[in-house]
């Protein structure tokens, strides 16, 4: 029953989206507010309908309706309820519905804002969001439908939406969610990433509306500033939560492996970050109009591309892509929207001309340009790193068709992993850090080497002190010293910026320093929120440099009562306890940690083997301090017993600063995005 309800609601939404698109275009063309209002209502209606559809699927998941093929694929009776709910986005079909539902929520929220000043944008915003929604609904309905059921027919089991002649409902064998996804991270990480993805559609929709209506001054940017910031925040949070999840679950001592799936989510973040910066130049100096359009169009395309990469199976094999209809459909959609958008930019090319002049290579707008160049450069590195292996594999099709070219187009698979990305993107990230240390000191308009020099020397001197401290603390590698100096410098600039403004306010108004800081930030949230985000990036970079440059590790088999040494740490294998539950058999070791010979706590790394899939999940034991993490894993391919168990021990210096920085990043984004009372009209 609920299957039909969910399916019906999904189908109705699909029809309504088409109506909305038609009504909006007609309303805009005939300048008829009634039709636009009708389109707006259609948009608003998609949300309750998709909520109904999503809730139906959640009900089916939670109550174990295994006649629905998707339910059987991602849940099993032994899973806790919260994981059954999260299974909504645990598989392909469900996540397409979930994506659509979030998209409709965001678009509806936009519909509810005041449109008085932006009436001409409204129909086109509706068109863009509904076209995007309709595309995802198309996939969820006709390619990967989560409501397909298993039927017993005279010819055997069949999977279909509706009852074939002479068939009756059958129950599929529940397989359950991949054990690696059975983690609290599953509750929050995918929704954050998806929220980031769908909310970037909003600024894109306004950009297209600005192009179509010809009202392409900076109004669309001002309207969507907070939407963009929210999108950026969700995407950032999604990426960081994913990193933390990998660190806690995957058990390889790291947080980021430059896996194509990770890179797919990073790419829109890179162009989105560039966009967040470059729109400031348009607002302040009325420049870069074309570039901003290009950036948001690219970001939108990358959002869809990222979903495509993670959802089409193309990464595991190009052949999987060719076999399923979902890949070509995505490809077509990205192509059509991208070309149409660029066409609109070309159509408005002349009116997007910049009137104002740039005067100095040392001005802030010039620095923003360099920032954009660096972010786009990292994006190019990432894009090629993901796409090139797909291309080389795809050339195999040519080789297979034309035997004489078989040796040229071998279609051989290649891996593009950390060695490529680190070498290519590492220096670019370092350059970004350096720029972060110069840009806030440069003025808009004119700025010369002299004015910049006057502003720079104090933080520069402070950073040299940090360099000396790092050297004294034992850092000798030139790369590490350079990295620490960069961090020190970028950090000092931010502290200097805060410090001198607070002091000025303090001596002028007589407020105490804390009150002065509070008032200062309150008066210019955007500037100081941005500075806080920069500070968070410095902290996160400290964590990344710590683990990337100074991680040490060892592996060894030790019998109970014996120790394994790593640097000034020693771990003692004290005990082992197997526990069998309904889903898995979990073996937990007790490890006593010693630091410099003194007891430093107990850890419990464990390893669980899941009955339904036979998959092993290792959970590391973690001793976390600001100085370093001791990360102990029970190696999962060796036997474990009292006689001996194999442990892998990592020491990850400074890595906690990465997570602390992430918290500051969220706080800073809230500061930057919070409405400013005095400027509200």
């Amino acid at each position: 029953m609920l299957t039909n309800l969910g399916l019906g609601a999904l189908f109705l939404t699909f029809i309504i989206s088409f109506y909305g698109i038609g009504a909006a275009i007609y309303g805009a063309k005939t300048k008829s507010p009634v039709w636009v209002a009708s389109a707006r209502n259609a948009m608003l209606l998609t949300f309750p309908l998709l909520t109904l559809s999503a809730l139906s699927l959640i009900y089916l998941l939670v109550t174990g309706h295994y006649e629905v093929e998707y339910v059987a694929r991602v849940t099993s009776g032994s899973m806790p309820v919260y994981l059954k709910i999260t299974s909504l986005w645990g598989g392909q079909a469900g996540s397409l519905l979930f994506w659509s539902w979030l998209m409709s929520a965001f678009a509806s929220a936009v519909m509810l804002r005041k449109w008085d000043r932006d009436k001409e944008f409204l129909p086109w915003v509706i068109v863009v969001t509904l076209v995007t929604l309709a595309f995802f609904l198309l996939l969820a309905l006709f390619v990967e439908n989560p409501f397909r059921r298993v039927w017993m027919t005279p010819d055997g089991l069949k999977i279909a939406l509706f009852q074939p002649a002479g068939a009756f409902l059958a129950r599929a064998v529940p397989q359950g969610l991949n054990p690696l996804l059975r983690h609290y991270g599953m509750v929050i990480h995918p929704p954050m990433l998806y929220l980031g993805f769908v909310s970037f559609v909003i600024p894109y929709a306004f950009a297209i509306a600005a192009l179509v209506t010809g009202r392409n001054n900076d109004r669309w940017i001002r309207v969507t500033r907070r939407w963009t910031l929210a999108a950026w925040l969700f995407l950032s949070a999604g990426l960081i939560l994913g990193a933390r999840w990998a660190y806690d679950v995957l058990g390889w001592g790291g947080y980021w492996g430059w896996d194509p799936v990770e890179v797919a989510a990073l790419m829109p973040w890179l162009t989105g970050t560039a966009f967040l910066h470059s729109v400031v130049i348009q607002e302040k100096r009325d420049m870069l109009k074309r570039w901003n359009m290009a950036l948001i169009i690219l970001t939108y395309a990358l959002v869809i591309f990222g979903t495509f990469l993670t959802r089409s199976g193309v990464l595991s094999s190009v052949h999987a892509f060719a076999e399923s209809a979902i890949g070509p459909l995505f490809f077509g959609f990205i192509g059509i929207t991208f070309i149409t958008s660029l066409g609109l930019v070309l159509w408005r090319w002349n009116s997007l001309k910049t009137e104002v002049r740039m005067t100095s290579l040392f001005s802030r707008e010039a620095m923003f340009l360099v920032n954009n160049l660096l972010l786009v450069a990292i994006f190019i590195v990432c894009f090629w790193g993901v796409v090139f292996p797909l291309l080389t594999e795809a050339t195999g099709f040519i080789g297979a068709r034309i035997p004489s070219l078989a040796n040229v187009f071998t279609g051989q698979k290649i891996t593009v992993g950390p060695p490529y990305y680190e070498r290519a993107a590492g220096p670019l990230f370092a350059a970004l850090l350096f720029l972060m240390g110069i840009c806030p000191l440069a003025a808009w308009g004119h700025s010369t080497v002299q004015t910049l020099g006057r502003a720079i020397w104090k933080p520069l001197a402070a950073s040299l002190v940090i360099l000396v401290l790092a050297f004294v603390a034992g850092a000798r590698h030139p790369g590490a010293l350079l990295a620490f100096w960069l961090l020190g410098y970028a950090g000092a600039v931010i502290v200097y910026e805060f410090g001198r403004a607070v002091l000025a306010r303090h001596s002028q108004t007589g407020e105490n320093l804390l009150a002065a800081l509070n008032r200062l930030v309150g008066k210019n949230r955007r500037r100081y929120g941005g500075a806080l985000i920069h500070l968070s990036i410095v902290l996160m970079a400290l964590g990344i440099i710590g683990i990337e440059m100074f991680q040490t590790q060892t592996q060894g088999s030790i019998p109970q009562g014996k120790t394994l040494k790593l640097g000034n740490y020693e771990i003692l294998y004290a005990d082992l306890k197997p526990v069998t539950s309904s889903t898995n058999e979990k073996t937990t070791a007790t490890i006593n940690v010693f630091k410099n010979g003194r007891p430093a706590g107990t850890l419990h790394p464990s390893r669980a083997i899941y009955f339904d899939s036979g998959q092993t999940v290792t959970t590391p034991g973690l001793r976390s301090t600001l100085e370093d993490d001791l990360y102990v894993v029970l190696v999962d391919w060796e036997t474990i017993s009292a006689e001996g168990a194999t442990f892998k021990v990592y020491r990850n210096p400074l890595v906690n600063w990465l997570w602390l920085g992430a918290i500051l990043l969220i706080f800073g984004t809230f500061v930057a995005g919070w409405p400013e009372r005095e400027r509200r009209t």
Binding site: G253, D259, K284, R357, M358, A366, V376, T415, G417, W637
Partner: protein, 173 residues
């Protein structure tokens, strides 16, 4: 008699030489095949870390839990025991499974594109930026000399910064 004496003498003289030779060959034998305990997990992982699982996607060999990878690590241990270098072992796996066992493709054949395209694309974007910058700068050559006469805003266009600078000046006084 003399001869009789000579022979044992000869043998006695030979003895240390034989012993020495025996020790030498034994030593060489030990050096050639050390006991398995001589190769630590860390030495195996140091090689495995630079290789990728040939079956699964993007999982480094030192952390891959699959049986195929466990067998590969055992094989690496054997090869290290036999005195193979890291480079030789990597080459061995490339010949067996193809370039995909390496973390980044070696720059040969089509793979050159892997390393040529990104810098070329970045340079192209940089070139576009540079040209845009020059176009923006061209019509106002006198700005540096007479900034007050140009249309562009003064050095501190940001009124917030202006206020801050003013406050700073006051504070200094």
């Amino acid at each position: 008699m003399v001869q009789k004496m000579v022979l044992p003498m000869k043998n006695l003289l030979l003895l240390p030489a034989v012993l020495f030779l025996a020790l030498l060959t034994a030593g060489a034998a030990v050096a050639q095949s050390p006991t398995p305990a001589a190769i630590t997990d860390d030495q195996v992982n140091a090689v495995a870390r630079e290789l990728f699982c040939p079956e699964c996607e993007n999982i480094p060999l030192d952390v891959c839990p699959s049986t195929a990878c466990a067998d590969m690590r055992a094989e690496i241990r054997q090869k290290l025991e036999q005195g193979w270098t890291k480079a030789q072992i990597k080459q061995y796996y490339v010949e067996r499974y193809g370039d995909r066992v390496l973390g980044a493709p070696p720059a040969r054949g089509w793979n050159w594109l892997m390393y040529v395209i990104p810098p070329a694309a970045i340079l192209a974007v940089a070139w576009v930026f540079y040209n845009a910058f020059r176009a923006w700068k061209r019509p106002t050559p006198q700005t540096v000399a007479q900034p007050s006469e140009t249309q562009s805003p003064p050095a501190v266009a940001d009124d917030y910064v202006a206020r801050l600078e003013a406050e700073l000046k006051k504070a200094k006084k």
